[in-house]
C-alpha cells in the first residue's frame, strides 16, 4: 500500500503529506508527491520519498492538471491518491478517478487504517450524518479539505526528485477573465471566537450589534447562508457549503439552526444560541441558550461583557 499526494495549494499538499507519511510508516510503505512551484526538495522534507515534477503546471485548469496527476499515478503506482479538497481539488479528484476508472471519496474529514484497510469519514445527508466508507479499487482517490491534518516539521530527509516528461493538453475551458474577490477581513476557519448572525437580523446596519460585541471579546463575525448568499451583507458564511469552523466559542444570534449550518459549527467547543423562537433547532444543539430577541439580548450582552470582572 503506497500513497501519491497532490494539491495545487502547497500548504494543503504538505498537510496531506503529513498524514500519508504517518499511514505509510504504519505499513512500511512509500509516499510520493506531485509537486507544484519551485523547490521540489521541500516535499521530501515534508515527508515524501519520491517527488515528481512536471513543467507546465502553472495556472490551475482541471484538464491539464488532471492529466498530470494521472501521469504521476502511472509513474508512482500508488494504492491511494490523496488530493487537496479545495474547490478546484474537489473537481480534480473525480476527474482523475474517472480517467483511472476507479473509486473516489470526495471531501473526507478523516482517515484511518482499520484491519489493513483505508477507511474514511465523510459527512452525508446534508451534513447531519457521518458515513464511514472504504473502497476496493486500486488506486482509490480520496480528497481532504484544508486543516484536516497537520504538516510535519520540515527536516532533511532522503528522497528522490523525478522529472516527468509529458505535454499537457490545452484546456478546453478558456479563462477569459479573473475577478479577484476582495480578501475577507474575517478568518473564520482559524478564529477562536465567532459571533454569528442569522435571519433574526432585520437590516444590515443592525450587524453593528454584533460588531460591538466582537470588538470587546476579540471575535470574528460570521453569518448564515441567507445573510451572505441571498442578502449579500457579508462575503462568506458558515455551513456545509461555506466555512466549517471550530472556535472555542460560537455565539449564534438569530440563527434558526438548519442542518447545513449546524454541520459547519459541529466542532465548536461551546455553542451559545440566542433566538426569540423557543422551538428553533439551534437551541437543541447549544450549550447555553437564551430565548429572546437579538435586539434586546445583544445590547444587554454588550453591557455585561464590558462590565465583566
Amino acid at each position: 500500500m503506497s500513497f501519491l499526494v497532490f494539491s495545487e495549494d502547497r500548504e494543503l499538499a504538505f498537510q496531506l503529506l503529513g498524514k500519508a507519511r504517518e499511514l505509510a510508516d504504519k505499513m512500511s510503505s512509500e509516499v510520493a508527491a506531485l509537486a507544484t512551484g519551485s523547490d521540489p526538495q521541500e516535499y521530501v522534507c515534508q515527508g515524501a520519498d519520491r517527488v515528481y515534477t512536471l513543467s507546465g503546471l502553472d495556472r490551475f485548469n482541471v484538464e491539464p492538471y488532471g492529466t498530470a496527476v494521472v501521469e504521476a499515478v502511472k509513474a508512482a503506482k500508488p494504492s491511494t491518491v490523496f488530493i487537496g479538497a479545495t474547490k478546484r481539488g474537489k473537481e480534480l479528484a473525480p476527474w482523475v478517478a474517472s480517467s483511472l476508472g476507479v473509486g473516489c471519496m470526495n471531501e473526507c474529514s478523516g482517515v484511518e487504517l482499520k484491519d489493513g484497510k483505508i477507511v474514511v469519514e465523510r459527512l452525508t445527508y446534508g451534513g447531519s450524518n457521518v458515513a464511514e466508507e472504504t473502497s476496493t479499487s486500486i488506486p482509490t482517490v480520496i480528497s481532504f479539505p484544508p486543516r484536516c491534518f497537520e504538516k510535519l516539521e520540515s527536516v532533511e530527509r532522503s528522497g528522490k526528485v523525478v522529472e516527468l516528461e509529458m505535454n499537457l493538453p490545452e484546456p478546453r475551458v478558456k479563462v477569459v477573465e479573473r475577478r479577484e474577490k476582495p480578501k475577507s477581513k474575517a478568518d473564520l476557519e482559524s478564529a477562536s471566537i465567532i459571533v454569528s448572525a442569522g435571519r433574526g437580523f432585520k437590516a444590515k446596519e443592525d450587524l453593528r450589534l454584533l460588531e460591538e460585541i466582537a470588538e470587546i471579546i476579540g471575535a470574528q463575525i460570521g453569518c448564515t447562508r441567507p445573510i451572505s448568499a441571498d442578502l449579500g451583507w457579508m462575503d462568506q458564511w458558515v455551513g456545509i457549503s461555506g466555512k466549517k469552523v471550530k472556535p472555542s466559542l460560537y455565539v449564534a444570534c438569530g440563527v434558526s439552526g438548519t442542518i447545513q449550518h449546524v454541520a459547519g459549527i459541529r466542532d465548536s467547543q461551546i455553542i451559545v444560541s440566542i433566538n426569540s423562537d423557543e422551538g428553533a433547532g439551534i437551541h437543541g444543539i447549544s450549550d447555553y441558550s437564551i430565548v429572546g430577541d437579538v435586539y434586546e439580548v445583544l445590547p444587554a450582552l454588550t453591557k455585561a461583557l464590558s462590565e465583566r470582572a
Binding site: 482541471v62 476527474w95 477507511v119 447531519s128 457521518v130 472504504t134 453591557k303 455585561a304
Partner: protein, 260 residues
C-alpha cells in the same frame, strides 16, 4: 438547443429520523423531492431555453418513486423526463453511476449542453459533473453561478474561493451549478396539471445497452456505516427576570468555561 439536466430525487433531509439505538438515519418512507441544487440546474436550463429556444430534458437514475418526484421538473418546464430505473443499480458508487449516466445520455441522443448541480445534498459527493465530462470527453465547467450561451459557446462565471473566473468553452459541455445561480420557479396549478401529460420514459439496464452485473462490478466505494454523531451539548437554558440578568448569567457561565 437541446439541454440535458441531471436530477436526483433525495429524501427530505429535515424529515429524516434517527434509529434510537444505532443513531442511523431512517430514510425509508421519507418523502422525496428533487435535490435543491439540482432544481437550480433545471431552472438555469429553462431560462436558457426561454432565451434561445429548444428543448430541456431531465435525466435521472432512480427507483419506482422517482417518477412522482420528477413531476415537479415537468411542471417547472422540462419537456420530457428519462429515468433509469434498474434494481441492480441500487447503491452503486459514483464511478458506476457516472457510467450509467453516460450510457443514458448517449441514449437520449443529440444535445448541446448538460447541466447538473454541483452536489446532491444527500451524498455531498460533487463527482458526477467532472466524471461525466471526462467520460463523454467534454469540457467540464464547475461551480457555475452565471451561465449564458451564444455563438455555439457557453460562457460562465465560476465561483471559486479566491476568484470569480469568467470562462468560455465550445458546446457541447458539461456544466455544474452552485446554489447561488438562481431561485427556482414555483410551478402554478396549470403547469402542474400539464406536467402529467408530458412524456416520462423509464429505462432498465438493457434499454441503454448496459450489462447490469458489469456495471455493478465497477462500483468500488462501500459505505460501511452511517450515523448521526452525537452533539454532546450541555443544553443549559439561561432564564432570568430581565435580559440584563440573563446576559450577566451567560457571561459568568462562559467565563467559568474558560472561553472568554
Amino acid at each position: 438547443m437541446r439541454q440535458i439536466v441531471l436530477l436526483k430525487d433525495i429524501p427530505e433531509l429535515t424529515e429524516i429520523k434517527l434509529d434510537s439505538q444505532t443513531r442511523a438515519p431512517i430514510v425509508e418512507g421519507v418523502k422525496r423531492k428533487i435535490s435543491e441544487v439540482d432544481k437550480r440546474a433545471l431552472e438555469a436550463a429553462i431560462r436558457l431555453k426561454e432565451k434561445v429556444g429548444g428543448e430541456v430534458v431531465a435525466l435521472s437514475m432512480g427507483d419506482n418513486k422517482t417518477k412522482t418526484a420528477l413531476l415537479e421538473a415537468l411542471a417547472m418546464g422540462a419537456d420530457a423526463v428519462y429515468i433509469v430505473n434498474e434494481p441492480e443499480f441500487r447503491g452503486v458508487d459514483t464511478n458506476a453511476t457516472s457510467k450509467v449516466l453516460e450510457a443514458a445520455v448517449r441514449n437520449v441522443g443529440d444535445y448541446d449542453l448538460i447541466i447538473a448541480g454541483e452536489m446532491t445534498l444527500d451524498s455531498l459527493s460533487s463527482q458526477i459533473g467532472p466524471r461525466l465530462a471526462h467520460l463523454l470527453d467534454l469540457p467540464p465547467i464547475t461551480y457555475v453561478k452565471e451561465l449564458d450561451v451564444a455563438d455555439g459557446k457557453v460562457r460562465a462565471i465560476r465561483d471559486l474561493e479566491d476568484v470569480d473566473e469568467v470562462v468560455e468553452a465550445a458546446l457541447p459541455a458539461v456544466v455544474s451549478v452552485v446554489r447561488e445561480i438562481n431561485e427556482p420557479r414555483i410551478p402554478n396549478l396549470m403547469s402542474i396539471m400539464r406536467a402529467k401529460k408530458k412524456p416520462q420514459t423509464v429505462w432498465g439496464a438493457g434499454d441503454i445497452g448496459l450489462d447490469a452485473s458489469e456495471v455493478k462490478s465497477q462500483s468500488y466505494v462501500q459505505i460501511m456505516s452511517v450515523s448521526a454523531p452525537k452533539m454532546e451539548r450541555k443544553q443549559i437554558k439561561i432564564e432570568a427576570e430581565t435580559v440584563e440578568k440573563a446576559a450577566t448569567k451567560l457571561v459568568e457561565a462562559l467565563m467559568q468555561e474558560g472561553v472568554l
